[in-house]
Assembly symmetry: C2
Homo-oligomer: 323 residues x 2
């Protein structure tokens, strides 16, 4: 059994190298740019942990790890084009540096490359692996489309459950599938695969609620972002959607006024409203609720509890972060 | 053995159905739009012909056919964004109807779907099939990037051989791989696979030369396009690049003047220059040269020549078209 830190190092030894040829230069430089600016490599580590939950690490899991990390980076490149984002991890985005057309192609060639790695695993579980991966990959695209659809709607038109579903598709199913693919390689049963998948999916949702909470109420020094960044751009978040549902008519009117205006103290005023309608308390409970569901799924997995320790630790680390 | 027409019908029975769920509506409507506006389905028919060259049609080849046709349509969606093309097959392009972001996602979800179909084939050749497909898929992206790189260069900076290579990557390797994948399913040896691949690749190049020739010198009534459309937009074509190489200094000066201006009789003047430096005659010979190479590869394939008849007929049809 290995810790998150140990597995991050092990994965880095497989991942931190050239994955593409040199030419055409512009295309592959753009791919290298996104791969080199880092990230926590959580998804591949989840795959390895999913493998180690059931058996010793099999070399195939590094191929799967590279595939899921490559796929994650592909989504970043294409999402950044759609969101017109100038920065990613404090570096210029691919389309900012290389233009939109090359950024589209860079994503495409990364997505194709994903399947080079998936194609390297042993034949007896290849069909299942690609099938589990493809389900998640398609759902990530669907989540992005639903997110864009929501952007064109008024906040009160977006139902909370639909929002949870969108977040699950956009951010959690890939975490879930990363774990599941590791479990497939480790020989986990369908029953155990399902539980590890649900563990990852619910941890992902809990993480996103925490992320929204910290953006609003977190210590900007520790969190490393401007406080209330989501509020300033009227981003639909768990907090905003739930606040509109929980607040009284007068508060709702005030909140909608704030959404359609831009006073200097907008963040402070919205936070006060969030606090008044107790959406801050709700968010902590809602995060705990999803975390609890996740842990129940982890408990249901039929292996010695000692094998679950690294996953418990990782979940604890992700869900108690203050930065 | 079946003809192109028969196989087109057979393939249509597998392809002309819903490949995607209904929701998110905007995403999957955009995919359905490009799939429904047709096309000649040449690539999947090549896969079936590649199969039938060596054995009876195996059901797996329809999965491969759907995969290559889906991939081809994916490239059209993303290329049309890059080229800012308003129309495709006389219909509005996906990004024109649904916006660039959804068009990017539509392509992505189609590319993921490609591998659902490739994942359905028998395990014993799955690795080889995905590997052959991925090589071509990556090369198509590389060809598109090189094409965009060429667009930023002056015509005389683009070497003829580099242009042939770009065209081969962008348009011919997928034809070649479609045939090869069929051959893999049919049990063709590596030697035979290589020859069928080269047959497809060289037919593809010959076809592109013919396409450039017809755009300039074809009968617009039969060809269905405006005569000299490529000339009007200064498109780098086989004819233009070779003309710059073959003409004398005075002709070159005149041709470059025409490229940087827009007189009413630009098409007529450029065509006259093409004719004067005999690039029209050259194009016919060059097309024949590639066609000849293709047929030599077809002859090298170690099967009864009767089995090659549908491929000979298809090549003849593609390379003698006047429309």
């Amino acid at each position: 059994m290995h810790s998150f830190q140990e597995l991050t190092v092990q994965f880095g030894e497989h991942f931190n190298r050239e994955h593409f040829p040199e030419r055409p230069k512009r295309l592959y430089e753009s791919v290298t740019h996104i791969l080199k600016i880092g990230g926590k490599r959580i998804r591949p580590v989840l795959s390895i942990m999913g493998n180690e939950l059931f058996d010793n690490i099999h070399p195939d899991v590094f191929q799967v790890g590279i595939a899921v990390e490559m796929f994650h980076n592909f989504t970043l490149v294409h999402d950044d084009i759609m969101d017109k984002a100038p920065l990613r991890r404090n570096h210029p985005t691919v389309h900012t540096l290389y233009g939109e057309s090359t950024a589209i192609l860079a994503g495409d060639v990364m997505l194709i490359n994903v399947y080079d790695y998936l194609n390297r695993v042993q034949p007896h579980y290849k069909q299942k692996l690609i099938s589990a991966f493809n389900k998640a990959a398609r759902e990530v695209c669907e989540g992005q489309q639903i997110d864009m659809d929501f952007e064109e709607m008024e906040p009160e038109q977006v139902h909370y459950n639909d929002y949870v579903n969108m977040i699950a598709l956009k951010t959690s199913v890939l975490l879930a599938a990363s774990l599941q693919m590791g479990a497939i390689i480790g020989g986990g049963s369908e029953y155990n695969q399902q539980h590890i998948y649900e563990f990852g999916k619910n941890i992902g949702i809990a993480f996103q609620i925490q992320d929204d909470y910290l953006d609003a109420f977190g210590d900007p020094e520790k969190f490393g972002k401007q406080q209330g960044g989501d509020i300033l751009v009227n981003k639909k978040t768990f907090l905003l959607l739930k606040a509109l549902e929980m607040c009284n008519p007068a508060q709702r009117t005030r909140l909608k006024e704030l959404l359609s205006s831009n006073p200097d103290d907008k963040v402070a005023q919205v936070l006060q409203l969030f606090h008044d309608c107790k959406v801050d308390e709700w968010a902590e409970k809602e995060k705990d609720r999803f975390q609890q569901i996740a842990f129940e799924h982890l408990e249901s997995i039929a292996v010695l509890s000692a094998r679950k320790k690294p996953l418990m630790e990782l979940a604890g680390y992700l869900l108690k972060r203050e930065h």
